[in-house]
């Protein structure tokens, strides 16, 4: 269809034009968005232009109307005399065939055009008789009047017998002149003839033009003045605000000693003073909090270090006792075993604490290299096979056949996976644990799925908190320190990846680790869904999950959480 094609072409051009316009006007729009002063000045200009324009239009139009109506009144008065005179002069003719009628008309027109006051110089008098074709029109001075006396006017005056007027522009002597053309019938014994009186509106026109120019110039000056005033006033207000904004920006950038200058005692000075006070308070608080935080972290680190040396000594002694336990009384032997186990736990706790404090202190560094993730997964499964066997859980690996190469720190990835799989086995309730690996161009993902008790709503974020437990009363039987998921989350964050959790009561849980293929890339999507596909279809939707705004695909149901 040609119409459709044409529409398509038009639409394309329209779109192109709009795009070009947007590109072209981008600087202006940016300036508009960013500058309050510009907006105020522009709005003032627009508003005042409209106001002044409307007012100027009103004044100019009124004055033109007044001028015109005054001229019209003068002409009406003058016309009344002329018509009276013409009526008198034509009383002597009984018929339009009268041989002296042309003479009378000539004389009358001459006399009427002579008898004009000097100020209306250039006026034209014409007498004609549309109803009596025998009577030739007479005009004094003899100029063509076709442009001035229109058929409409002739109809109004001659046919309808009305006194009427009209403004016309005619080109006389090479110059366009406006005329007020006034026509009136002149009754005679043989019907009526028409008298037209054409007065140039030169004076009125130039007066109207002068008024218009004056109004225009005044209006423009007023608008510009208003613009300047608006600009100055806005500047008075905006400048301190800008200073405040800059100061606030610097403050937020960490330059806590930035202050505003306080000038005078006005509202802006008050603002500056309040701002400064706020900045000082904030600075004090921040410094104090920083100090506290630093002290706490140092305390943790110091305690961990300080504990390590005695622990080593205690360890060595415990190892000795443990190795000799068979020689002891069974009760003592049992104690030695307990001591050994608790020391193991203590040691790993201490290791985790040190790791955490390294993260906190910002000392953790990523040692990224191109690594195949498939062997890592297999190794983790192997290492935990013994534990799994003990609790009756089977670990099912769903790995691609080809290597999955990503630029990651293998040690940390292994630690994350070990942690996740270990947790899954531990809470697996003797049900299978599935580890799935998948990759895309820019991201790789590993999910670990268990079918244990699952997570209650809200817990999927709490699981990453330090020392968090689903059931605080539950005895710590399994060897976890309560810091594993925190460390894993920190590791994932170090990679620029995500670590997310999903779970529903009775349906088990799934954790997903998503990492960029190239170190430092920004993640946009994960190759695997966070919510497992094998989820029981009859499961009721969980209450609205507390979703993270920056999370990946929105879950249809169930709880999920992520850690970046």
């Amino acid at each position: 269809m040609p119409v459709r094609r044409a529409l398509r072409v038009a639409r394309r051009y329209w779109v192109m034009g709009m795009r070009r316009f947007e590109t072209w006007s981008e600087p202006a729009r940016r300036a508009w968005r960013r500058s309050l002063q510009l907006r105020v000045v522009a709005l003032t200009l627009v508003a005042s232009s409209l106001l002044v324009g409307a007012f100027g239009y009103f004044v100019a139009e009124r004055s033109a109307k007044i001028l015109l109506s005054r001229a019209q009144a003068e002409v009406t008065a003058s016309m009344a005399n002329k018509v009276t005179y013409a009526i008198d002069q034509l009383t002597v003719h009984r018929s339009d065939k009268d041989s002296r009628l042309p003479l009378t008309i000539n004389q009358t027109v001459d006399r009427l055009s002579e008898g004009d006051p000097a100020e209306s110089g250039g006026s034209i008098v014409s007498m004609r008789a549309a109803q009596h074709p025998d009577i030739k029109p007479v005009t004094s001075p003899d100029v063509p009047t076709d442009q001035l006396i229109t058929p409409d006017l002739v109809k109004a005056v001659s046919t309808d017998g009305k006194e009427a007027y009209q403004v016309r522009t005619a080109r006389l002597d090479g110059e366009d002149t406006k005329f007020l053309v006034y026509g009136s019938p002149v009754p005679t014994s043989f019907g009526h003839v028409e008298l037209y009186y054409m007065v140039p509106l030169t004076t009125e026109d130039s007066a109207a033009n002068q008024i218009r120019t004056t109004v225009l110039v005044t209006g423009l000056a007023l608008v510009i003045l208003l613009g300047v005033v608006a600009g100055l006033v806005t500047r008075l207000v905006v400048t301190p605000v800008r200073v405040a904004a800059r100061t606030a920006q610097r403050l937020s950038a960490g330059l806590l000693d930035q202050r505003m200058r306080v000038d005078g005692e006005d509202d802006l000075a008050l603002l500056a003073a309040a701002f400064n006070q706020m900045a000082a308070n904030l600075q004090r608080q921040i410094v104090r909090l920083e100090e506290m935080s630093r002290n706490q972290r140092r305390f943790t680190s110091d305690v961990s270090h300080e504990l390590r040396t005695p622990l080593t000594t205690v360890r060595m002694a415990a190892d000795l006792i443990f190795s000799e336990r068979e020689d002891f009384d069974p009760a003592v032997a049992r104690s030695a075993e307990l001591l050994q186990a608790e020391l193991d736990r203590f040691e790993s706790l201490l290791t985790d604490l040190l790791e955490i404090s390294r993260f906190d202190a910002g000392f953790a560094a990523l040692d990224a290299e191109h690594t195949d993730l498939v062997p890592i997964c297999e190794r983790v499964a192997d290492r935990l096979a013994g534990l799994a066997e003990r609790v009756g859980v089977t670990i099912e690996l769903r790995l691609p056949d080809t290597p999955v190469i990503a630029e990651v720190d293998p040690r940390r990835v292994e630690r994350i996976l070990r942690n996740l799989v270990g947790n899954a086995v531990e809470h697996g309730e003797a049900l299978p644990v599935v580890v799935t690996l998948a990759s895309e161009d820019s991201a790789v993902a590993v999910t670990v799925r268990d079918h244990g008790i699952g997570l209650k709503p809200g817990e999927e974020r709490l699981v990453f908190n330090r020392f968090w437990r689903a059931d605080p009363s539950r005895a710590r039987q399994t060897g976890g320190t309560g810091l594993g998921l925190s460390i894993s989350a920190e590791d994932a964050r170090l990679h620029g990846g995500w670590l997310e959790a999903w779970g529903a009561p009775g349906e088990g849980a799934q954790f997903r680790l998503t990492l960029p293929v190239r170190s430092g890339d920004r993640l946009v999507a994960a190759p695997l869904p966070l919510i497992p596909r094998d989820r029981a279809p009859l499961a009721l939707p969980a209450p609205a999950p507390a979703t993270e705004p920056s999370a990946g695909p929105a879950p249809s149901s169930g709880a999920k959480a992520e850690v970046l």
Binding site: A28, I87, S184, R212, G219
Partner: protein, 606 residues
């Protein structure tokens, strides 16, 4: 952002600049209904219809009609004449003079020779010009022959004139039928009286245009024969526009008269009197006179009437006659029982002729005593109702004619002047008895046998050598003079013997026909037309030696109702039939007189 500002500013500028100001063109705005349609002016006497070419049934009739075609509006005279002509002739017809029409008197009716030619046998008696002035021919009219070729032309109805003399001709009957006499007035040079100037106005001229025509004539100046002895309007007085039709008795006249000073009431009054008299018979109750751009002046009074001396003429004149050498009043005339004015009873004897005139203050008498070579002219003057002595006037010899008072001013009796013929010459005499002086004029005339002065004191009718003349008295010199006399050719008379002013525009003329019979007729002051209904068409073979008339007051009539003549030494009245004035008509009884005895020399107190 600057662009945006520019945009706003520009749009505001466009709004102001384009949206207001005086528009180039607007639609028609009706203010009100125009003035009411004028009421058609009451159609007064419709102009008599002139015969047209189509109405002519015969070539002779066509020629008659042709001679009437030029009558009427002078602007369209040529068109009317051309309407009689074939298209070829009309296209080439160029009369020698288009401004005036030759007025001819037909000697005999047009004669058709049966071969397409009509012969016109006419006398040219004068020319009528577009300003209504009829100028008599200088000499006795000769009979002229004109030929008109008349025939049918193809595809057209009726007869056409195929060839015609290159002049505009009009018969005197057409002039009589299609014109009306109007007198306009000019002041004499002393501004003591208005002098009538007779014009011919086409009857086709509508009533509304007549004032305009009259004013145009006035501003155009007097007729040639009056011109030197009357005052023109103040110099450069012109009528620039029509005089509107009279409305509610008010006539508005607007003149341009730069030489009239705004406060010159005398000149204005004279002008108004002159205009009002000239407008008669139209009599506006109010005259609004606008001079230039000044405020209009309004005149409503009737004082202007007195400025024409003819207005002072009485309805019934005081009549006198001479019986037995004594001046006697006639009965049935006013003051019939009073004594004869001026003359003391003792002086009232042996009188053969007399003339009397009265001004507002004095009465003047001029009498002839004795007869033949012993005849003497005596004059006397006295205040009204009183008597005075008669003084003999010297300087006259030979046969004396009848005296006549030409001018009798009020208050100053010494300036009264009379005229008398003596030995065929004209003399002037004064009331103070100074010697008579010969009245001079240019040109030669035969023996002057009769003289009559119009009431205005300026216009004179003379009979000299049996022919009728008119002239103006010139009072400016030491002795009165005459303007060059102008020959008048009244119809029918072969020889004129006596003349008297019958009205402002008419003369009563007595004369003889070709067969020697005498008649008295009223003819126009230019001799062109005869007033057919008046006068005595046949009074026998006795020569009328003297004719007198008491002129008509122009507000009453155009011709006199009181005319008397002397024929065969006896006095007669003109009243339908000749009626002799006998002793029975005298006011006082005359003891011993034979009943029916005749009287002589009837005269009126002017």
């Amino acid at each position: 952002m600057r662009r945006r500002l520019l945009l706003v500013a520009a749009s505001v500028a466009v709004l102001i600049a384009g949206g207001c100001g005086i528009p180039d063109d607007t639609s028609v705005t009706v203010v009100k209904t125009g003035p009411a349609e004028g009421v058609p002016v009451g159609g007064a006497d419709p102009a008599p219809a002139q015969p047209t070419r189509e109405s002519a049934s015969s070539p002779a009739q066509l020629a008659e009609n042709y001679l009437q075609a030029a009558a009427g509006d002078s602007d369209t005279a040529l068109e009317r004449v051309k309407a009689f002509m074939s298209p070829e002739l009309a296209a080439s017809f160029k009369p020698t003079d288009t401004d005036s029409v030759r007025v001819v008197r037909e000697v005999q009716t047009p004669l058709y020779d049966g071969k397409g030619t009509v012969k016109l046998s006419v006398q040219q008696i004068g020319t009528l010009s577009s300003d209504g002035v009829f100028a008599p021919s200088d000499s006795t009219p000769e009979t002229e022959l004109y030929e008109l070729k008349v025939d049918h032309i193809a595809d057209k109805q009726g007869l056409y004139v195929l060839s015609a003399p290159p002049v505009l001709l009009m018969s005197d009957t057409a002039m009589r039928d299609y014109y009306v006499q109007r007198t306009i007035y000019f002041w004499n040079l002393a501004y003591t009286s208005l002098v009538p100037d007779v014009r011919y106005m086409p009857k086709s001229l509508p009533l509304e245009q007549q004032p305009t025509a009259v004013l145009t004539w006035l501003t155009g100046g007097a007729s040639d024969w009056l011109h030197n002895d009357v005052a023109s309007l103040p110099s450069n007085t012109t009528l620039a526009e029509n005089v509107p039709a009279m409305r509610d008795g008010t006539l508005q006249i607007s003149l341009k008269a730069p030489s009239i000073q705004p406060n010159d009431g005398q000149t204005l009054n004279r002008l108004v009197s002159q205009v009002l008299w000239s407008l008669r018979p139209q009599q506006p109750t109010t005259l609004e006179l606008t001079i230039g751009n000044r405020d209009p002046l309004s005149f409503t009074n009737t004082e202007y009437l007195a400025s024409n001396k003819s207005y002072q003429l009485a309805d019934q004149p005081e009549r006198f006659t001479i019986y037995n050498g004594v001046i006697r009043r006639l009965k049935d005339s006013p003051h019939a029982t009073e004594p004869v004015p001026v003359l003391k009873p003792a002086a009232n004897k042996g009188i053969s002729a007399a003339a009397m005139s009265a001004s507002a203050t004095h009465t003047y008498a001029a009498v002839i005593t004795g007869s033949g070579a012993g005849a003497r002219l005596r004059v006397g003057t006295a205040a009204l109702g009183e008597r005075g002595d008669l003084k003999a006037v010297g300087g006259l010899s030979g046969t004396l004619g009848r005296p006549i008072w030409a001018t009798t001013p009020d208050a100053d009796p010494g300036k009264a002047i009379g005229l008398i013929t003596a030995n065929g010459q004209l003399y002037s005499f004064r009331a103070n008895g100074n010697a008579a002086q010969r009245v001079a004029w240019q040109g030669t005339l035969g023996k002057v046998s009769a003289v009559s002065v119009a009431p205005d004191g300026q216009r004179v009718a003379l009979v000299a050598g049996g022919r009728l003349y008119r002239a103006m008295i010139d009072y400016t010199g030491d002795a009165p003079g005459l303007s060059s006399p102008q020959l008048l050719s009244p119809p029918i008379f072969n020889r004129v013997t006596a003349v008297a002013w019958s009205g402002e525009a008419y003369l009563a003329v007595a004369g003889a026909f070709g067969d020697g019979r005498y008649a008295v007729h009223e003819v126009t002051v230019d001799g062109a037309l005869q007033l057919g209904s008046f006068g005595l068409s046949d009074i026998g073979t006795t020569e009328v030696t003297y004719l007198t008339a008491y002129p008509a007051n122009p507000t009453q009539s155009v011709t006199s109702a009181s005319e008397s003549y002397e024929a065969g030494g006896r006095a007669w009245d003109v009243v339908g039939d000749p009626s002799e004035v006998t002793v029975d008509d005298l006011a006082e009884p005359t003891p011993g007189a034979k009943a029916g005895a005749g009287t002589t020399d009837p005269f009126f107190l002017f």
